[in-house]
């Protein structure tokens, strides 16, 4: 009975979807003016090679501010709800991986992840990538320490003072950079220093600083969320003393 009803409505939906998809224009047919404008103006106006980063950190930096604060509030909510396990109870968690090959591979993966993240953030205005992707890669480098080594190393590296401090520096730094533009007589979050030569790491002006700030905010927020979940789970499963 339920299957019959589902099949009837699914065929109707499939017919509508096929009708809609066949009416789409061909791939690559772009009628709107805004994309062509951006693609033509990014190089002479902003000296940036990555048009997506130019839109995210320069033309529409205010929307990125909203997204940063979204991640910030999500991390704050997770910390607020899951902060009932005190950090002093983590000493009795014993869960080190015993295989030496896994530990070595995990250390190499963590260092590689860290270097790759710094590379993606530093080239944020030149190659595909930028602040957000580099920030999550940075947090993933720390997550490798937990996954392949042990929880103690991870907890020592990402104490709540460090990860929350990183997140606050990122989110607050983004807003502070926007306010610095006021000191130069420009609008909020406008690009305030020299745009540099096209194609170099120093091109793009203060959008590069916004890039770095957003990567710190994303890395810190993701580390806060992950370490809050982890701390609670590890204390329940591996801790020998109760709360």
């Amino acid at each position: 009975m339920r299957t019959g009803f589902f099949l009837a409505s699914a065929t109707g939906l499939a017919a509508l979807i096929v009708w809609g998809i066949t009416g789409l224009p061909a791939f690559g047919d772009y009628p709107g003016p805004y994309g062509d404008l951006i693609a033509n103006l990014v190089k002479p106006q902003r000296h940036m090679a990555n048009a997506v980063s130019a839109v995210v950190f320069d033309y529409r930096a205010f929307d990125t501010l909203g997204e940063e604060l979204l991640l910030f509030s999500a991390a704050t909510a997770v910390a607020l709800l899951l902060r009932d396990t005190r950090e002093s109870h983590v000493e009795d968690i014993v869960d080190a991986t015993r295989s030496d090959a896994l530990r070595a591979l995990g250390a190499v993966a963590a260092i590689t992840g860290l270097v790759l993240a710094l590379n993606v953030v530093a080239h944020g205005l030149l190659t595909p990538g930028g602040g957000f992707q580099g920030g999550v890669l940075l947090a993933a480098g720390f997550a490798f320490v937990f996954l392949a080594l042990e929880y103690h190393s991870f907890a020592r590296l990402t104490k709540s003072t460090y990860s929350e401090g990183l997140e606050s520096v990122g989110a607050g730094g983004y807003v502070a950079l926007g306010l610095v533009a006021f000191g130069f007589g420009l609008e909020f979050l406008e690009n305030f220093y020299g745009k540099g030569v096209f194609g170099r790491l120093t091109s793009g002006g203060s959008a590069f600083l916004l890039n770095v700030a957003s990567s710190l905010a994303v890395a810190g927020g993701f580390l806060v969320i992950f370490s809050e979940y982890l701390q609670e789970n590890m204390a329940v499963r591996y801790g020998r003393s109760r709360r």
């Binding site: 791939f27 999550v136 997550a143 993701f222 992950f226 979940y229 609670e232 499963r237």
Partner: protein, 84 residues
């Protein structure tokens, strides 16, 4: 459409069916990250490298880590019983 684009779309469709068909929750998280890799290939073939990097990072790293953490927490609560 170029055959490479068709293959990428087919891979994404198969991955989506696989995510729905996985029964265990942790297994579903792992299959979801494979589906994310299929999405990355799709975005790359359709000439959107920035979106591909974002999809790789979110569906390969951020989403499975937070999901598995949440699943572990719910299972730990169930094991501890109704006193929580």
């Amino acid at each position: 459409m170029v055959p490479l684009q068709l293959i990428a779309i087919l891979f994404v469709a198969l991955g989506a069916v696989g995510v729905v068909a996985a029964r265990d929750l942790v297994r579903q998280a792992i299959v979801f990250s494979l589906y994310g890799f299929g999405l990355v290939i799709l975005f790359l073939v359709f000439q959107a490298p920035d979106v591909a990097l974002s999809a790789l990072v979110v569906s390969g790293i951020a989403y499975p880590l937070v999901l598995v953490g949440a699943i572990a927490r719910v299972r730990g609560l169930e094991k501890r019983g109704p006193q929580e």
